[in-house]
Amino acid sequence: MSALLIDAASWALLVLGSIFVLIGALGLVRMPDFYTRMHAAGITDTLGADLILLGLMVQAGFSLVTVKLVLIGAFLFFTSPTSTHAIANAAYTAGLRASPMDEEGDAPDEGGDSAGERP
């Protein structure tokens, strides 16, 4: 019974994590400009990866594998926000600004590449 519960819990976490990765990928393709795309990519790094790791930990139980997974999670916890920050900082330094919304609240349709030239 408990094996079934563990399987169910880890599957739920794995599927949920995969869904978040999928949402992140979708957002990366669909979002209009650089900064919103990065927001979508952040979901993959944080929620997606952490939920998948959690699911694997539930599957591994109390073992050395879980310790390693916790360490991987800790590394991701430090590195992915840092890389997001570095990318955003580099884009901002290079002069890329967030594309402004127009009156109806829609983003302009030129996409992110031309956003830098706007006043």
């Binding site: 590394f75 430090f78 590195t79 840092t82 920050h85 570095a86 900082n89 330094t93």
Partner: protein, 330 residues
Amino acid sequence: MTIANVIDIALLVFLGLTAFAILKLRALFAVVMLSSVFSLVSACLLVHLDAVDVAFTEAAVGAGISTVLMLATLALTARREKASTRTQALPLIVVFLTGLALVYGTLDMPRFGDPAAPIHHHVAPKYIHDTETEIGIPNIVTAVLASYRGFDTLGEVTVIFTAGIGVLLLLGAFIREPDGLKIQTMHHHLVLRVVTKVLIGPILLFALYVQAHGDYGPGGGFQAGVIFAAAFIIYALVFGLENARLALPGHAVRVLVACGVLLYGGVGIVSILFGENYLNYSVLGSTPVHGQHWGILLVEFGVGLTVSAVMVSTFYAFAGQNPPISDEDW
């Protein structure tokens, strides 16, 4: 079709698409990133084929260090590839014919995983059967790499050594010593500096773990050397090349490049002096198995030393060509 096949095919399709995109793109920055993706996908493929040691190397070298080195090269050249004016018909035909010949050649090879394949009948059974009694370590890959096939690995280390010397000669790193080391303050990038400081310790520790743990699991000198070098390279990237050179001077790294190969070859010489064949470690300890443990440990350490020193000095040589970025430019 099993799930394993589906995963293999999906990964291979990804590989093919990435390679096609690398061919088609002219923006070299994207090409570098895609080649990193290519390495990562091949690492996944190798994990799926149960070649974990190779996958580890591929991930560390292909996706990690070589991406940084290619970016350093990119900083020295243009960011866009020049459009080719020549006709591409002849190269296409040559590539097509070569590909056809290769595919034709694989037709004679045994099927993937065929138990009757010659490779499973010649030396592999001996390695699998004797490693436990002769070498006494759980990871057969390390036993084959460092002991049974110690000559081959010595050759690989020498190749890395020679490549490193070649890069240093071409980029003139022997002449250009940094004069007047100045410490840059780097007031900006607070987040990067703090996180780098937090991470460098664990990265070095992980490298040592991989180095020492090669007998028991995936790992060994090649992977550990690359990870060890990565810690210094990330330090140089965030804190500036000058500071990294203060922590690890270029001339010291160049000495270490040779030390690793010397250690490897020296272990062989010592085993000759004890009256055995070159690189037969059995005489190095109180019992043959104990001697094998010592030999593998020393040889792997030599590999790690040379690999990490070559990586760091190659990075120094590339990055030293760029003028340092001053604080005001950020």
